[in-house]
Symmetry: C2
Subunit: 180 residues, 2 copies
């Protein structure tokens, strides 16, 4: 493939595809460039650095979150954010680091905030809900990865059962004050 | 120092000390052994693998959390857990990965659960509160680290001001149902 055939979109496609194969720790600019059969310098034409590229990946991961809609229930939006993070290997970690650096589009926070407009401080509470989802998803992906490589024993019971109860309890508690 | 002078406690001391100097990504068994002037194999006498050593480090980080006490307010316990995580470089990440692998002692969850006994499902809610704190602390440490190495511009305002409002809002919401 000629370098000119790659735009931001196709570079992110490639990064997401590689991510599922090799995971975030091995996802380098060099590796993405090799996959696209270009020199690493060609990537820097689209992204000033790796963090900017990962922010593009984070935006793509969160593109599955529905647009802000005040009529939507927060628990529904929270579930959509969680599902988006879990849809890609290391998805939670990538979104976490982009959020920490305030890169990328705050699509998740805006969707959460819209669902929380009944709350006097919906933006702050939306950030809190997002931080809870990020913590939850990171833990779940780390555990599932450790199990997949045999670093820990598989859970005796369905590993997601307790995890799901914790997620529901957290979202219920975080949004309980909004409905009253 | 002779190998015989090192026990689990002093190995963890050394790991924590190194952590503040070099950060989690560079904290290897080899590096810890070099710091203690022993062969890496000497460490495996105390810890079967690196994850077990990091679980010991995680336990040490959380040892600053007060013992379970039902008379303590959850927000007070949550703040103590947050402060413990932030007291060491990459503290949140180390505790997060130990918790994901279910290694180490659940000191934080027990202290949180004790403060939540008025809630019908205090263990599940305590896990949710812990996941929120872990997400919050990880984000804060990643941002502070990125600023310290110049990867992002320093915040125009005090970076911890908004972060603190989010933490308080999250803990208040998560525990609001308990008091009523």
């Amino acid at each position: 493939m000629a370098p000119s055939r790659h735009d931001r979109h196709s570079v992110i496609d490639c990064a997401l595809h590689l991510l599922d194969d090799i995971g975030l720790p091995d996802l380098s600019m060099r590796r993405i460039a090799a996959e696209l059969e270009v020199q690493p310098s060609a990537l820097y034409w689209h992204f000033p650095n790796k963090q900017a590229l990962l922010a593009g990946v984070a935006d793509r991961i969160l593109s599955a979150v529905p647009a802000p809609d005040a009529s939507r229930d927060t628990s529904q939006v929270a579930r959509a954010v969680l599902d988006a993070l879990l849809a890609y290997r290391d998805g939670a970690e990538i979104v976490m680091s982009s959020y920490a650096l305030r890169l990328g589009t705050p699509r998740a926070q805006r969707a959460l905030a819209a669902s929380l407009t009944a709350h006097p401080d919906s933006d702050v509470l939306a950030d809190a809900v997002f931080e809870f989802i990020l913590g939850h998803a990171t833990l779940l992906q780390q555990r599932m990865h450790a199990q997949s490589i045999g670093a820990v024993e598989p859970d005796a019971q369905d590993p997601t059962a307790h995890s799901d109860a914790v997620f529901c309890a957290g979202i219920r508690a975080l949004t309980a004050g909004v409905r009253t």
